[in-house]
Structure formats: structure tokens, C-alpha cells
């Protein structure tokens, strides 16, 4: 009898301790690598200094965030507090009821000049669950030593096997590739999604992709194209602009950036649905800090992704270690934006499954 009492007391005590320890921890999920490092420097460290009671745990499983959040929700045990996802995933999570809707103006800080957050973020608030953080783009880099004297000037060089022979790397999914294909097949920018919504438009895009199909290396991880470029396996390849920045400016590889035809996408935060009030409050308190004007500008010191707030842009300075001006390397720098596309979330939310099935079939044949 005494033994049982003792054991029960021990169990209660250890649960209480576990509870106390958990109250201190906040799990933030992100993409890992240089990106997580930039968040650590710009957000986590200053936040933990100001709030010694909170310990931020950095989890690097953002790539599987959607599936994991669904599995956690089904198991009734969501262990994540804040999750960094791309906008399309945020929409999906919102649709599935897995992410919490956030009233932006009441939760997030206004700009220093008093502009409310909803206006400061503007169009980037693509779904009520999503708090934008950065603007990044998917664009092309090419080997400067493999293109002769006529470096490519526009994105259609990807489809130009005559002048730019050799392998090229594209992401193994229809998104972006279909748009580029139509763009280079002579479809006007504003008609691209209307075209893609039709069978004929899709067939047209596939036909254009067919012309380079046997020269394409398809990538699925963001690190693939930089590696392929560094190894000289491909002449030109698409990847995230931050990866190319690192390859060019930090690793000094003979690679140059092709801003033409870059496709903007957003990355930001969601808070999982059904958190306890206490955890929800903590998560929002963190987000209020991490997404204010200065913090977003700070992140650009470490990585070449553009802050999602309009008010942050003027505050972007120099790279923390390289000391070079970061503004020219931002995808939303006006000079880089002559010919750009914004990821059409609405369209792809509808057509993703349909076109992906066709894309995979096309790939396999």
C-alpha cells in the first residue's frame, strides 16, 4: 500500500514538473539551414533575451508541416506553437481547419508611422490564418562559364536549347514550370492563368516543356540546383533566390542570377488551431514581436529574402558578415521586378491536384 502511494505521488510530481518545464518551451517549426539561422538571429535570440521565461525550440520539419499538423490534430496532441509555412500551405491548413484565424490588426504591431498591420502587409495577407514574413522568389541561376559570350537575359533561355545547350534543372512539380512554359510560348502575362485553366492551355504548356524534357534534371529539394550548378551538371536551373545568393556571394561559384520571370511566393507564420489559451497567447505574443517592422528588416541582414511589410523595406541594410548592401539582392527590389509573376494561390489551390496528376503522367511517359 505504501509503495503504491509513493508511486502515485511520484507520478503526480513528475507530471507537475513536466508541465512546468513545458510551460517554458515554445516549439517553432521552420525550414532549417541558413533560413532558420536568420530567424534565430533576427527573432528568437532577441525575443528570448527580452522574455527569459520562454525557451524557443527550433524544429526543422517545415517541409512536412502540413501532413504533420494534420496527424497531430487527428491524434489530439499538437506539440507545435508556431509554424513557418509557404502561403499555399497556409491556405491549405486554413481550409482544413488546422491553422487558427488571426485578426491581424489586433494581434500584430502597427508600423512605426502608425499604419495598421493589415495595410502594411497589404495583399500579402492571402488567407486569414497567415501572417506573412518574407517575400522570396523562385528564379534561375546559370553557369557564367557555360553560356559563352551571350549570357541569357530572359527566362526563355531555359527553353532555348540552341543557344544554351546542356542540362537544366526544374522543380519536379507543375507550379511555376507551367507558367514559364506558357510565358515563353508567347502567352501574355495576364492570360497565363486563364490559359492554364483550360485543357488546351495545359496541353500547350506541356508541349513547350516537351521541347526540353530530355534535357531536364528535376529537383525536389531546394539544395539540389545549387549543387548541380556548382558541379557543372546543369547550365541553368531554378531554385529559391536566397540559395542562389549564397552560391554566388558566399560560395563564389561562377554562377549568375537571372531575375527575369521570377515567381514571387510568400513565406510566413501560422498558429496551429486548438492550442490551449495559454499557449495561444504566448505564440501570438511572440509573433507580435517577430513580425514588427524592425525585426523583418533585421532578418534581411542574414538572408536575401525581402521583408513582407512595406514599412520594412527602407530599413534593409548590409549583410551581417559579407558587409554588402542587401537591397539589390532582394527579389522585390524594383530593378529586379521588370518581369515577375506572383504565385496564384487561388488558382493552384483549385488546380493543383488536377494538373499535378497530368504533370506526373507527362513526366512518367
Amino acid at each position: 500500500m505504501r509503495l503504491r502511494t509513493f508511486l502515485a505521488a511520484g507520478a503526480v510530481a513528475s507530471m507537475a514538473m513536466a508541465g512546468a518545464a513545458q510551460a517554458e518551451d515554445m516549439t517553432i517549426v521552420s525550414w532549417g539551414g541558413a533560413y532558420s539561422a536568420s530567424q534565430m538571429n533576427a527573432y528568437h535570440k532577441p525575443y528570448m533575451e527580452m522574455n527569459p521565461g520562454v525557451n524557443i525550440i527550433n524544429d526543422e520539419s517545415a517541409a512536412e508541416a502540413v501532413a504533420k499538423l494534420r496527424a497531430m490534430a487527428e491524434a489530439g496532441n499538437t506539440t507545435w506553437d508556431v509554424v513557418d509555412v509557404v502561403a499555399s500551405d497556409a491556405i491549405r491548413l486554413c481550409d482544413e481547419g488546422l491553422a487558427m484565424e488571426v485578426d491581424v490588426d489586433s494581434v500584430l504591431a502597427a508600423a512605426p508611422d502608425g499604419t495598421p498591420a493589415s495595410k502594411d502587409f497589404g495583399d500579402f495577407l492571402v488567407t486569414p490564418c497567415f501572417i506573412p514574413q518574407i517575400v522570396y522568389s523562385t528564379t534561375f541561376g546559370y553557369r557564367t562559364d557555360m553560356v559563352g559570350d551571350t549570357p541569357p537575359k530572359d527566362v526563355c533561355a531555359v527553353f532555348d536549347l540552341e543557344n544554351y545547350p546542356g542540362k537544366r534543372s526544374l522543380e519536379k512539380r507543375p507550379i511555376n514550370n507551367m507558367e514559364w512554359a506558357l510565358m515563353c510560348d508567347g502567352v501574355a502575362m495576364e492570360d497565363i492563368y486563364d490559359q492554364l485553366a483550360t485543357e488546351e492551355g495545359q496541353a500547350r504548356a506541356f508541349a513547350k516543356l516537351d521541347t526540353i524534357k530530355d534535357q531536364v534534371v528535376w529537383w525536389s529539394a531546394g539544395a539540389d540546383t545549387p549543387q548541380l550548378l556548382a558541379d557543372g551538371e546543369v547550365v541553368i536551373g531554378s531554385t529559391y533566390n536566397g540559395r542562389l545568393f549564397k552560391l554566388i556571394e558566399e560560395d563564389k561559384q561562377p554562377v549568375a542570377m537571372l531575375w527575369d520571370g521570377q515567381v514571387f511566393d510568400l513565406d510566413g507564420w501560422i498558429v496551429p488551431a486548438n492550442l490551449s489559451d495559454e499557449r495561444k497567447k504566448r505564440a501570438l505574443h511572440y509573433l507580435n514581436f517577430a513580425t514588427d517592422t524592425q525585426r523583418l528588416a533585421d532578418q534581411a541582414k542574414y538572408i536575401s529574402y525581402g521583408p513582407a511589410r512595406a514599412s520594412s523595406a527602407p530599413l534593409v541594410g548590409k549583410h551581417a558578415t559579407l558587409g554588402i548592401d542587401m537591397a539589390p539582392h532582394m527579389p522585390n527590389e524594383p530593378k529586379n521586378m521588370s518581369n515577375t509573376l506572383l504565385y496564384n494561390y487561388e488558382f493552384w489551390a483549385d488546380y493543383r491536384d488536377d494538373i499535378d496528376a497530368k504533370f506526373q503522367t507527362w513526366l512518367a511517359k
Partner: protein, 422 residues
């Protein structure tokens, strides 16, 4: 007889109970104890194996979200003839409005949208958009027109046909999708040619798995033979080499293959250097089927060698000697005497390698390019990316059934008792 009874009846134990009964009692205690001993394992298997599989089976047909979210609409649609070519009447729109109001309050309409978008492209944004506007609709007005104003799809009978087709709590939709078919207006029909992928991928998965299994066998058999016949010290050394791949992480090994096999890689460089291959004719050995076959054969080789080795080790060398003394050449002795006895090892190794490779997805994803990916890559995609878990479950179930059928065939042709791990 010991009891001195004359009537033929059940034999009694010393305490007067029927012997059969006492025996059963004694055995029951034993069985109970045995059951308690295996209970942890049994529970473990039930929780971690049987339950997930049952859950997967269930998910592949489960469709409760439609009748749960649109209960009134589903009931109202009973009377609508989907072959009529006309959208349903006002009664159905009224039901839809009430269902959607409740769904929006529960934030279930977008979830339903995701579900139905698998069947008809565009329903996701249709429901999202309609959800935003449904509150403002006037109950007494012409609801059909109001809905059509929000989105023209509501006037399209095809939208309604889709809802009606997937209105029951269980659906064959996922399984049909998994075999490149769909539930159309006139029943089950094949998908258009440019969307048929899964059967092709199943075939490719099976074919490549067979190729990998055969490659493992061809490479592994001589190695296992050497291991089993060499003196202990040498064979231990060789065994370490065989097991070496197990000690390096999968990703490291795969990266190593990339370095070796890519066009600017070590093998191609060497071939160009010795002049076997022209510089512009470098071999494509990665990001295609060749890459998958090479890398997976390497990774799965130990699973072939180990069962082969443990079976071969039990074949005494005297059999080969006996065969030779009886006049058989080396080859005949091997083929007619040694080889048949190593068949159980081949069976075990082949089943192991085949089943492992059929479900592999990391390596094909990394080195398979487009022509070397497996069905499991699509399953992984639907689990982690498209969130179409129902389809992933259906594909998984089919894969499971294929494996079971092959297992059954193996049992019929070769016999499962002819499999030995040592």
C-alpha cells in the same frame, strides 16, 4: 476401470471430475500463462501494426465528410436526376444554404472543398468563395440565381452531379482514382489518357523491384558463396565489407552515388579519361532508372547476401564432394546438388529484397529522376504534400494486396516452407 464402474462413461480423475475436464482446466492455466507472456508483444503489434492498417483500409473508402457537412442538401438531392442536364430546383439550393451556414460556422466548408476538389477541379475555391458570401444571401429570394451569381459553377449540373455521386458515407472514388478510373456520369470510366499514371507506376514499381531483386541475386549469390566457403577469418573480413553499407546513413550513401554516377562524376570522368566515352557522350547513370537500380541494389544487397549466406553455411561441403565423386563436373555438381539446396536462401533473400524495394521511396526520390520513381513516391506525395490521404490509403491498400497476392503465388509455386533464414 480403476474406479470399478461397469457403465462405460467418461473416465474420471482422482477427484471424481471427468478426466477431460480436469485436463482442460490444467491446460487452460498453461494457455493463460502463455498468453500473458506474449501479451506485451500482442498489444504492441495491435497498436502499431494492425490498427494503422485497419485505419488505412478505412480511410481509403471513408467519405463521411460530405453527408456530415451537407446533410440537408444530400437528402434533397435524392429526388434530382443527375442525367437531366438541369441544375436542381430551389429546394436543393435552400438546403445548401442552410447546410453552408452551419458549415461556415463550424469552418467545415473549406475542408469539404478540399475533399471534393479531388473529384472536380475548382470546388475548393467554389466553396471558399461561397462560404464568404452565403451569410449575405436572402432566404426568400431566388437562391439558384444568387448562388449562380457567386459562382457560375452552381448553375452547372456537373457540380451537382459530383456532390450527388460522392454523397454517401463510403466511396469507391479513391480506389477508382488509384487505378486510373473515376466515377463518371455513366458509372465507372477510365480517366483521360493524360491523367493515367498509377497503374503505370504500379507496373514500373513491380518491374524495377524484380530487376533489383535479380541484380541483388546475381551479385549476392557469388559473394554469399564465397562467404560460406572461405576460411572463417577471411570470410569475417568480407562480411564486414558486406555490412558496411548498414553503418552509413542512407542519405550519405545516396549522396555518394550522386558523386560517382553524375555526368561530371567520378565514373564518367574516368571513362572519358581512358577514352571509352566521348566528352559530349557522357553516360546518364543517375536521375533515371539506372540510378535507382544501381543505388537500390547496393542498399538492399545485404538483405540478399545474409539469408543466402546463412543457408549456404548449413550445406556441408561433402555434398559437392559426393557429387564429384559420383562423376559430376564442377558445374553439374553445383547446379544439381548445391544450387537446389540454396533455393530456400534465394527465396528468403528475394522475398526480403522484393518487398523492401517495392515500398522504398527515399532512394528513388533522390536518384530516380522521373523514370526511376516508384508508386511509393506518389503515396508519400499524397500523404505529405497533397494531403489526399484517402488516395494514399487506397494506393497503399492496393500495394499491400499486390504483395499478398505475390506472396500467395510464391507459396503456390515454390512453397513458403521452402524459405529459410538460416
Amino acid at each position: 476401470m480403476a474406479n470399478g464402474e461397469n457403465v462405460p462413461g467418461p473416465i474420471l480423475a482422482a477427484d471424481g471430475r471427468p478426466l477431460r475436464q480436469s485436463l482442460a482446466r490444467a491446460l487452460r492455466l498453461q494457455k493463460l500463462r502463455a498468453l500473458m507472456l506474449i501479451a506485451p508483444l500482442l498489444i504492441f503489434i495491435l497498436v502499431t501494426f494492425a490498427a494503422p492498417i485497419a485505419d488505412m483500409l478505412f480511410r481509403s473508402v471513408e467519405n463521411a465528410i460530405v453527408p456530415d457537412t451537407l446533410p440537408l442538401t444530400v437528402a434533397a438531392l435524392e429526388d434530382w436526376d443527375d442525367a437531366s442536364g438541369q441544375p436542381p430546383g430551389e429546394k436543393v439550393f435552400a438546403a445548401l444554404r442552410r447546410d453552408l451556414l452551419a458549415a461556415v460556422a463550424a469552418k467545415a466548408h473549406t475542408k469539404l472543398g478540399s475533399r471534393l476538389n479531388y473529384e472536380q477541379t475548382g470546388v475548393a475555391s467554389l466553396l471558399r468563395k461561397t462560404g464568404r458570401r452565403v451569410k449575405r444571401m436572402e432566404e426568400d429570394g431566388d437562391l439558384a440565381a444568387q448562388f449562380a451569381e457567386v459562382h457560375k459553377s452552381w448553375a452547372d449540373p456537373e457540380t451537382w452531379a459530383t456532390i450527388k455521386r460522392f454523397s454517401s458515407a463510403y466511396t469507391s472514388g479513391y480506389f477508382l482514382n488509384a487505378v486510373d478510373a473515376k466515377l463518371g456520369a455513366t458509372g465507372i470510366e477510365a480517366r483521360p489518357e493524360n491523367e493515367r499514371i498509377y497503374i503505370f507506376l504500379f507496373e514500373r514499381t513491380l518491374l524495377l523491384s524484380v530487376v533489383i531483386t535479380v541484380a541483388c541475386l546475381l551479385i549476392g549469390y557469388p559473394v554469399a558463396f564465397l562467404l560460406a566457403t572461405l576460411p572463417m577469418r577471411t570470410s569475417n573480413m568480407l562480411m564486414i565489407l558486406v555490412l558496411l553499407p548498414f553503418w552509413t546513413s542512407l542519405l550519405v550513401r545516396t549522396s555518394a552515388w550522386k558523386v560517382l554516377l553524375q555526368q561530371q562524376g567520378v565514373i564518367n570522368d574516368t571513362l572519358v579519361f581512358i577514352g571509352l566515352v566521348a566528352d559530349d557522350g557522357r553516360l546518364a547513370m543517375i536521375n533515371n532508372q539506372t540510378g535507382t537500380i544501381i543505388a537500390m541494389t547496393h542498399i538492399l544487397l545485404p538483405f540478399m547476401i545474409l539469408p543466402l549466406y546463412s543457408v549456404m553455411r548449413t550445406i556441408p561441403p561433402s555434398y559437392m564432394r559426393a557429387a564429384k565423386s559420383l562423376g559430376a563436373t564442377d558445374w553439374t555438381a553445383f547446379w544439381r546438388v548445391y544450387f537446389p539446396q540454396s533455393v530456400p536462401g534465394i527465396g528468403a533473400g528475394a522475398i526480403l529484397v522484393f518487398i523492401l524495394s517495392i515500398g522504398y521511396y527515399i532512394t528513388p526520390e533522390l536518384v530516380g529522376g522521373t523514370s526511376g520513381t516508384f508508386i511509393s513516391n506518389r503515396i508519400a506525395y499524397h500523404i505529405s504534400s497533397s494531403l489526399n490521404w484517402g488516395l494514399a490509403a487506397a494506393l497503399g491498400v492496393i500495394l499491400l494486396v499486390v504483395v499478398l497476392v505475390l506472396y500467395w503465388l510464391y507459396d503456390r509455386i515454390i512453397g513458403i516452407d521452402n524459405v529459410k533464414l538460416g
